[in-house]
């Protein structure tokens, strides 16, 4: 195969085109995956903010039933893996999973250690640092956001229950979203890129083969036939046109 003219023409072209396409697809896939990941974090962060704003009134009023109902309802939403609110001491006060209530959260766990690694906990983190990804016990990939619940002037001056003004953080909302949809989209993208690369390879090899056949192999074949006939007979026909 490598010794033939077709092989010599097709192997480097096929290798160069396919290889370059594969590299482009891999880089593009990496960039798209990173973009997807950022979008996921922004979406989860916005959702956490929405939930915090929705629960704000119930928190002011110390309406635990309403708060628990909101958390439970959000937790039942499709694609939500977990949602919980824990207090400053790290004890889960509200959760969509009743089994988690009143459990102490390990401060060294992933998602907590980001703020609690120093002697004084960090109170302000960027959106990207608030996010973490992990695999839950059911084997599903999850992206989680820990959003701090800050003490605000109307929290420290409320009539019903008062937090000291010096207390910066009152608790934390932790929400986890399933990454199944994200994984499905990326798998679809991978398949499309593989099909695209294979199609490009077929078109390149097909194009080069067609051009070689038309411009090289057929004229050479006609010349060979002409030479054979000329050798056999004295009255050779006219030479083939190019």
């Amino acid at each position: 195969m490598f010794a033939t003219l077709a092989g010599k023409a097709l192997v480097p072209v096929g290798l160069a085109v396919t290889g370059f396409m594969v590299v482009c697809c891999l880089i593009l896939y990496s960039v798209i995956r990173e973009d997807f990941h950022r979008s996921e974090i922004v979406y989860a962060s916005n959702l956490a903010d929405t939930i915090l704003k929705s629960t704000r009134y119930a928190m002011h009023k110390s309406d635990r039933d309403t708060l628990a109902t909101i958390i439970r309802n959000v937790g039942e939403q499709r694609g939500v893996d977990h949602i919980r609110i824990f207090n400053k001491k790290g004890i889960v006060r509200f959760s969509a999973k009743p089994g988690e209530l009143d459990r102490q959260v390990d401060k060294n766990a992933e998602g907590c250690i980001v703020c609690h690694q120093g002697a004084v906990p960090v109170t302000n983190l960027g959106t990207m640092q608030q996010a973490r990804t992990f695999r839950n016990p059911d084997g599903l990939d999850v992206i989680a956001i820990t959003a701090p619940i800050y003490n605000e002037p109307d929290c420290s001056s409320a009539a019903c229950h008062v937090h000291l003004p010096g207390q910066k953080i009152l608790g934390t909302l932790d929400i986890g979203l399933s990454r199944a949809e994200h994984a499905r989209s990326l798998a679809m993208l991978r398949i499309q890129m593989i099909i695209f690369t294979i199609m490009s390879l077929i078109i390149t090899i097909g194009g080069v083969t067609a051009l070689l056949r038309k411009n090289l192999f057929l004229p050479v074949q006609r010349m060979r036939n002409y030479a054979d006939i000329s050798t056999e007979k004295n009255d050779a026909p006219d030479p083939p046109s190019h």
Binding site: F2, K8, V11, P12, L15, A16, T18, G19, F20, V22, V23, C24, L26, I27, S30, V31, R33, E34
Partner: protein, 179 residues
């Protein structure tokens, strides 16, 4: 007089035989050199696979990215490195195909291993090696694959030509006609 002419003729024959022997030796040496040179691309590919395995293991023997970032400053972003990788892959393929078309004997394979290793290191210190490993690996296999093919076909054609020349010299005792 006749004796002198015979002596002269004998000297000429000996000289021609010596020069043919020398030419044969040179051709054999050249064939051996081309045989050795033909595996250069494969050796570069093997070296790149070795580097890729080290990259796959996360360059455990190198200092952690944080230490190097503290020393040298912030690395370029993964996006910038990817753009450079893309440009490099494109240029390397075009260069290799041009050399193939013009039949040049160029020894560039090992330098490509160096460039590709640098890409692995940049991604490693930019903490994005895991996401971009396959892009560098694909670029390496493509570039070094084309280079190996170029070197191998160049050597195969040159060796075939040299063998023909050797056969001609052995048969006629004269240097082969120049093309």
């Amino acid at each position: 007089m006749t004796g002198m002419r015979e002596h002269q003729l004998s000297a000429d024959i000996n000289e021609t035989r010596d020069s043919a022997d020398m030419l044969r030796q040179e051709l054999k040496k050249e064939i051996n050199r081309l045989n050795r040179f033909s595996i250069r691309g494969i050796l570069a590919l093997a070296l790149f696979l070795g580097v890729s395995i080290l990259a796959w293991w996360g360059f455990v023997f190198l200092p952690a990215p944080e230490a190097v970032i503290t020393l040298l400053g912030k690395p370029p972003t993964a996006g910038i490195i990817s753009i450079v990788l893309l440009l490099y892959t494109f240029s390397a393929i075009i260069l290799s195909l041009s050399r193939m078309a013009s039949g040049l004997e160029h020894r560039s394979s090992f330098s490509h291993v160096g460039y590709l290793t640098a890409f692995f290191l940049f991604y490693y210190y930019g903490k994005s090696l895991e996401e971009n490993y396959w892009a560098v690996f694909g670029a390496g296999i493509t570039i070094l694959g084309i280079e190996s093919y170029r070197i191998w076909t160049f050597c195969a054609e040159s060796i075939a030509q040299k063998k023909e020349d050797l056969e001609f010299v052995t048969r006629t005792g004269r240097p082969p006609p120049q093309e």
